[in-house]
């Protein structure tokens, strides 16, 4: 494990000497200001209110709840994800603006936990989306949640928490798992491949057999029809 961490990672060199200062400032601010979207999927969610309110007060770490995926930085998955909720979780994740982070709270997100034998839950969350931080426990205490969040903050500050890049780099892999669970016709409203190109992250593993399958079934997205008045009953 140690060796893996020491493999030098090539950094794109920036020509502007101030760029580095600026990057560090942004990274610091990123780590000190996290808007979280808590998608409370399972029982573990019950430990979030004490972590947010007066007993432990997340706001002193700069973490505050937000209500829409567009505004959020962290997606908190608190507990088991059933197949049905996983679809919503993926839609939500894809709508968030990068850089974005996922935290899996509870053992159920790590390996299925006590729902291991259930036919209706997804076992490993990081098969379907990149998870930056797992907080294990059934359920983890608020202290553990705060500890996990602090860990994530540290990783964001040093620039290690870049799981979201993985989602765009290896979209085919994640899509494959999603298709295995939801069937071949699975598609989300977000065009992930185009976004990967936008971020400059599209690589050899972004597209593959699964995205080819997606292309085959994909229905073009249509803007919602704007209509005034009620639809006539038939």
């Amino acid at each position: 494990m140690k060796e893996i961490q020491q493999i030098p990672v090539a950094q794109a060199s920036r020509t502007n000497p101030f760029a580095r200062v600026f990057d560090e400032l942004t990274a610091f601010c990123r780590s000190r200001s996290m808007f979280m979207l808590h998608y409370c999927t399972g029982c573990g969610a019950i430990e979030l209110p004490p972590a947010m309110t007066s007993r432990f007060d997340m706001e002193r770490l700069g973490i505050q709840p937000m209500v829409s995926p567009r505004q959020a930085d962290i997606l908190l998955i608190t507990g088991y994800v059933s197949v049905k909720t996983l679809k919503r979780v993926i839609l939500t994740y894809e709508q968030m603006a990068s850089p974005k982070y996922v935290i899996g709270i509870c053992s159920c997100t790590v390996n299925g936990g006590m729902y291991w034998q259930s036919y209706a839950t997804a076992k490993k969350l990081n098969d379907y989306m990149p998870v930056d931080m797992y907080i294990a426990g059934c359920m983890p205490r608020p202290e553990a949640v705060i500890e996990g969040l602090r860990g994530l903050m540290e990783r964001v500050r040093t620039g290690e928490a870049n799981g979201w890049e993985d989602y765009y780099r290896r979209y085919d892999y994640y899509l494959g798992h999603q298709q295995r669970l939801f069937g071949e016709a699975w598609q989300t409203p977000t065009n992930v491949i185009q976004e990967a190109e936008h971020y400059g992250l599209a690589g050899p593993e972004t597209e593959g057999e699964h995205t080819a399958l997606l292309r085959q079934h994909q229905q073009p997205l249509e803007p919602l029809e704007m209509r005034i008045g009620l639809k006539e009953r038939v």
Binding site: C29, R30, S33, T53, R60, V67, Q71, A97, L224
Partner: protein, 299 residues
């Protein structure tokens, strides 16, 4: 005053306003935290939020109007700051006056309405329709208050209004001479800032922050900047009209922070009204207080 000095003031005034506004946002969050027995955010939290939001690599834009809407929302307030005298700097306040100010501070709401309209998110549209309804509701008492103040001082020039109040001391402050109008103004300010119980258009639990629902990254950053300007603007208007403006920076800061602390302390104690209740309430009490106040002034 030379052109250069004026230009310098025009650049400085919004910047100073923004910095003060950041501290007002901090104060708001601190008050909320203390009322809920929490510690609250660190001192630079509002700044972290804004830098973070501008640093996001968002790819979402809903079109040209969406972008222009945000620029209008921030730009409207930047323009308003140059019309609001602060100690030592008057900007173009003398040329503008109350009426121009009244128009300029409506621009942000309209800009937001245009921008959000293009998102085609139903929550956003509901939020904006509520915001414009709220504007309709608080503008009536607000206009009555402005009229009363202008009638009392005999001018709509903000610099003159401040000079008149400062010349006569505390006894000639708007709040002392026109207490009813001052109360109506406070009421209106609560609604103008969109604080509970008048928080109908943000309503996170109900319409997912309304106008902000589709705003991520830089767009939300723009709205955060707008919020700090908004707090500053509302406070300075109130201080200028009723509390004699700022004699010097110390008194100015004390007054404006005290003024915004009032709606914020009230806000965290209340839930939210429905839209029609808000309109009814605002058209009844502050309008009544304002009209009686104006009648007393004229009598």
């Amino acid at each position: 005053m030379s052109v250069l000095e004026l230009l310098l003031e025009l650049v400085l005034m919004p910047i100073v306003a923004f910095v003060i506004g950041l501290f007002m946002v901090l104060m708001m969050r601190k008050i909320g935290a203390r009322l809920q027995r929490r510690v609250g955010p660190p001192v630079f939290q509002p700044l972290y939020d804004i830098v973070k939001l501008y640093g996001k690599r968002t790819q979402v834009s809903h079109g040209l109007m969406h972008d222009i809407g945000i620029i209008m929302a921030v730009g409207g307030y930047v323009a308003a700051e140059t019309l609001l005298p602060m100690p030592g700097m008057n900007g173009i306040a003398e040329k503008g006056g109350l009426i121009a100010l009244l128009y300029v501070i409506m621009i942000p709401s309209l800009g937001l309405a245009l921008g959000v309209g293009q998102c085609a998110n139903p929550n956003g549209s509901i939020g904006i329709s509520r915001a414009l309804t709220a504007m309709l509701a608080y503008d009536i008492p607000f206009v009555i208050v402005i009229f009363g103040v202008a009638w009392h001082f005999g001018t709509t020039n903000l610099v003159d209004i401040i000079a008149l109040q400062q010349a006569g001391g505390i006894a000639t402050w708007g709040a002392v001479e026109m207490p009813l109008l001052a109360i109506a103004g406070l009421f209106g300010m609560q609604a103008m800032l969109g604080k509970q119980p008048f928080e109908i258009y943000v309503a996170p639990a109900e319409i997912a922050t309304g106008p902000m629902v589709e705003m991520g990254g830089k767009y939300l950053g723009g709205l955060f900047v707008m919020q700090s300007f908004q707090l500053y603007t509302a406070a300075v208007i109130y201080v200028t009209l009723f509390l004699g403006g700022g004699e010097n920076w110390l008194f100015f800061l004390i007054k404006i922070f005290a003024v915004v602390a009032i709606p914020m302390s009230i806000a965290f104690l209340f839930p939210r009204y429905r839209t029609e209740n808000l309109v009814g309430l605002l058209w009844k009490w502050p309008v009544m207080a304002g009209l009686i106040g104006v009648a007393l002034l004229m009598y």
